[in-house]
């Protein structure tokens, strides 16, 4: 039995060493979230920059003891400086906007940093040196274990102690904890919050940079480090409870160990496992292991409030004119024009369904791709395994999405604020991981091919008219729901949940049904998308699909009805045109999103309405 004990011990230490790096990165993010309430996607970029900068420094300073550790330290400081600049230039301007907007702004920063990093360091992966005098291994019960990994576990212990002393034994720590508890009160006491926030951001960025730099002897430095780490780190701090240091420690250990042992026990579902744990924790502990319930979160997470008015007369006339114009479009444009317009209409339906659940529905979801992908995969699976015809698949796909919404929505509506967003994200990632790893059924990354429309709809004009009819009907239906008693009840729950409940409205059930409605139309959009492309891939379920719809709604404006339509047209046109002419489209797209969050948080249509149309209050 001896070898068994040693095997488990080594596996345990392996888990702890990956937990150590996760902790370093996650603790920085958690500290930042604690005081600023921003869940910072760009934390992943800072981690990546830490690795790239330390790689470059090592090339110059050499990989001796002084050169190696000096490079790591300098790189972490440089990352802290970059973080500070981001905070002062950008994040300071968006502390007042809703949380999901902040999330999106930091994602835009991540896009910008991806292109900047690509242009400074080039496309190839880089491999740094091993750490001096920590390049070998030691024997533990007869098994070799890397000394560097042992060092990382020790270092994490030192950082935990240091953070504890900083938080509990210094004045700065007292202020930081006070800010985490109650920002307004601290401001009333005359504390300069600006610099407190900036210093927390610098510390958090330092830890992110250090985490990245410490990866040098463990993995190659690559452009995908940012996304890879940030999703793991989100999972860690959500499981631990946002803003809680001990929660982050515990959950980093849990995640590290689950990874290390999960790979032995369930090698086929490693990707699902992580999100499954996150979902389970959030279902039983809605605020993570050590997080606190906060009322302020609910108020500030709202993306839209106030009245939504039916369009004025001229607006309706204009809508009819556009609808008629689209009907006549095949007379004027070629096949590609029809294909592109069909795609815009499909995305518009998806964006409108997202808008429905977020704006009038008041549910801040961050995984809407789940329903889009469920629709697409339902279509593909039914076509491939049951050979159903197109009309049946088009009908069944929304039903599949509704089933998903009934199942996942039940858990989601019991959660709130950022935790709700993260729960919806976890569910979407779980289904994505299933589609990605269940190779025998879904084809995994190779997707499912040959999902073409029925004979009668196979020419581009016929498919265009079918998309036109279905998306048009879907958009009009969703819009009309807003002005039914159901829609008013949803908005009542959103704006005054306590009062609405006192009036006898069942808030949870209303939002649950709302998710089902939004899911159904997203599923229809997904099914049409599958037919328009002739194939389905796991990308239809991933975070980029969610973000695409999100950006579309945001460009148009959350508190408008036409916003998502305008947003989807602009977004697809920008994407197709920019990516054609420029290889820095991520930088441009990121900058556009940032500009919208900072200068037009109400979106283009919102800004237009404010300027030219008096909205009844």
């Amino acid at each position: 039995m001896g070898w068994r004990l040693s095997f488990f011990l080594i596996q345990f230490l392996t888990g702890l060493s990956s937990a150590a790096v996760l902790f370093l990165v996650a603790s920085g993010l958690s500290l930042i979230f604690g005081v600023t309430r921003i869940l910072n996607f760009a934390h992943g970029s800072l981690y990546m920059l830490g690795a790239f900068i330390s790689y470059t420094l090592v090339q110059h300073l050499g990989d001796g003891v002084l050169g190696f550790w000096g490079s790591l330290l300098l790189a972490s400081c440089a990352t802290a400086a970059i973080g500070t600049i981001i905070e002062i230039l950008i994040l300071r301007r968006i502390y007042h906007v809703p949380e999901l907007f902040q999330l999106l702004a930091t994602f835009a920063l991540l896009l910008v940093f991806q292109d900047i990093t690509l242009h400074i360091w080039g496309p190839e992966d880089l491999l740094g040196p091993q750490a001096p005098s920590l390049s070998g291994s030691i024997e533990i019960l007869g098994e070799a274990f890397p000394t560097y990994d042992l060092f990382l576990i020790g270092l994490a212990g030192v950082v935990i102690t240091g953070l504890y002393l900083l938080l509990f034994k210094t004045r700065w720590g007292v202020l930081l904890r006070a800010a985490t508890e109650d920002r307004e009160m601290l401001a009333n006491l005359g504390v300069n919050q600006k610099w407190l926030f900036t210093s927390v951001f610098a510390l958090g960025s330092f830890l992110a940079g250090l985490g990245g730099a410490l990866q040098l002897p463990r993995e190659s430095v690559s452009l995908s480090m940012d996304m890879n780490v940030i999703i793991d780190v989100f999972v860690v701090i959500v499981i631990g409870g946002l803003g809680s240091l001990r929660g982050t420690v515990l959950s980093a250990i849990i995640v590290g160990l689950v990874r290390a042992f999960g790979i032995l026990i369930f090698p086929e579902i490693t990707l699902v496992l992580l999100f499954l744990i996150m979902a389970i924790v959030l279902i039983f502990k809605p605020h993570g292991l050590f997080g606190k319930a906060e009322d302020s979160v609910i108020a500030s997470s709202q993306l839209a409030s106030g009245a939504l008015c039916p369009a004025p007369k001229w607006g309706r006339t204009l809508a009819v004119v556009i609808a008629a114009g689209l009907l006549a479009l095949p007379l004027f444009v070629g096949d590609y024009g029809l294909v592109l317009t069909s795609e815009i209409m499909i995305w518009a339906l998806f964006a409108v369904s997202l808008h429905f659940i977020m704006s009038p529905g008041g549910v801040g979801v961050f995984g809407h791709a789940l329903y889009f992908g469920l629709g697409a995969y339902a279509t593909a699976l039914l076509t491939k395994y049951l050979a159903v015809t197109m009309p049946v698949a088009l009908l069944a796909s929304p039903l599949a999405a509704i089933l998903g919404a009934v199942l996942f929505g039940w858990f989601c509506v019991r959660s709130q604020g950022m935790y709700l967003a993260m729960l919806t994200f976890a569910f979407a990632q779980m289904v994505w991981a299933v589609a990605f790893q269940w190779y025998d059924v879904t084809g995994g990354d190779n997707g499912m091919l040959g999902i073409w429309p029925a004979e009668w709809a196979s020419n581009k004009t016929a498919f265009y008219y079918m998309t036109y009819a279905l998306c048009g009907a879907g958009i009009l239906l969703l819009r009309s729901f807003i002005f039914t008693p159901f829609g008013y009840a949803l908005r009542a729950v959103r704006d005054q949940s306590k009062r609405a409940e006192a009036l006898g409205l069942n808030a949870m059930r209303l939002q649950w049904i709302g998710m089902g409605v939004a899911g159904a139309f997203a599923g229809l959009a997904g099914s049409l998308f599958a037919y328009s492309k002739g194939s389905v891939f796991p990308t239809s379920l991933d975070i980029h699909t969610t973000l695409n719809a999100f950006v579309m709604v945001m460009i148009g404006g959350f508190n408008t009805l036409t916003g998502p339509l305008v947003g989807s047209v602009i977004y697809i046109m920008l994407e197709t045109e920019i990516s054609r002419v420029s290889e820095v489209w991520r930088l441009l797209l990121g900058s556009i999103i940032l500009a919208i969050v900072i200068f037009f948080p109400q979106g283009l249509v919102g800004a237009f309405n404010k300027r030219f149309i008096k909205v009844k209050e």
Binding site: Q11, L127, Q130, S222, G334, G337, N446, G534, V566, L604
Partner: protein
Amino acid sequence: MKTLSALVLGFVLMAAPALAASATGEPIKIGEMMPYTNGPSFAVPFREGWQIALEQINKEGGVHGRPVEIVSRDDQADPAVAVRIAEELVSREKVVMLIGAGFDNVGLAVGNYANRYHVPLLKQWAGSCGPIEDPQNTYWFNTTPCYGPYARIFAREAAKLPYKKWAMIGPNYEFGHAMNESFKAELQRLRPDVVFVSERYPAVSKINAAAEIRAIDRTKPDAIFSTIFSGDLASYLLHAQKVGFLKDKYCISGTNIGSKTSIKELGTAYPAGWLTEGVPQDTNGLPVDPFVKLYESKYGQRPDLMAIYGYQILLVAVDSLRKAKSLNGEDIRNALENAKIDGPFGPVQMKNRQLYPGFWLGHTDNQNGKGSMVNLKWHSPEDLFPEAFQTTIAQ
């Protein structure tokens, strides 16, 4: 809604084909797409390769006196985006064939479209054998043979070695499973005494190197066949270096880690003594071809594998355009089926919709942290032909 109409109008204007005909005759267009922003480390050398071929072809008078034009797009490594781009290239730009589509999933999505609309696709590289085995998918052409022949070549080399206990590690998707299983089947056929003690398939770009290495090490193999690559391979090698895992094990890499990009990317962790595919980087062994000279004078370095493939792919495309009865998809496809060119290093021939180039096998080496390839041996394309293996069976 107002903005919507303005934009739709604007879009209608943009979508209207307004292509000026060039003075020296209407160019024949070929559509190209590669992940220029999501996988540029192999996309860019590929483009450098075909750009040299393009200049050369147009200097020679193009195809039937018409210049050849390549409309190049970034497919963003996203299959759905790639299908839209294929639509744009085919219906708006009127390209007669498609080349590139680097990632497997992108290639499969574009191939699915191309087959339906009868546009030949010359897929850069080959990961998936599916389209080749599908008798309905006749517009798909691989520009290298898919994994089967390479796996069998490696198995044949492995069979000559004394090792009996083999382990395998590969990425958990079609390429990894199929390549490793082909290797295993062929090696067991040639050497019934060989046993496979461990088979690991970590998730792509999510490898837990320590856990995988420990799982393999427990089974005490003599040799390892590996098809993991880039970031996963780097993590694996770094951990192996620390715990001395590979010291006493012979390794074969089914993914070509002998390319210049791989040598650069794996840096100091570059393994020594692995059998793999590569390209000679010094003048010894590399036949001096006009292409190599042109490439060196233009980019200041020797061409890597991807550049060579980029160059060959366009020669094949143009060869078939010249031989095709007309420029409709079916005729180009028929011409492609029998394409044969003189590549930079010998003849390159299409067989069963797969292009068979020659290749080098050799061993990796690492001298004081600098990686290289040694003992490279040229294999002619015939070594990869299905017949080559049938004769082995007969013996």
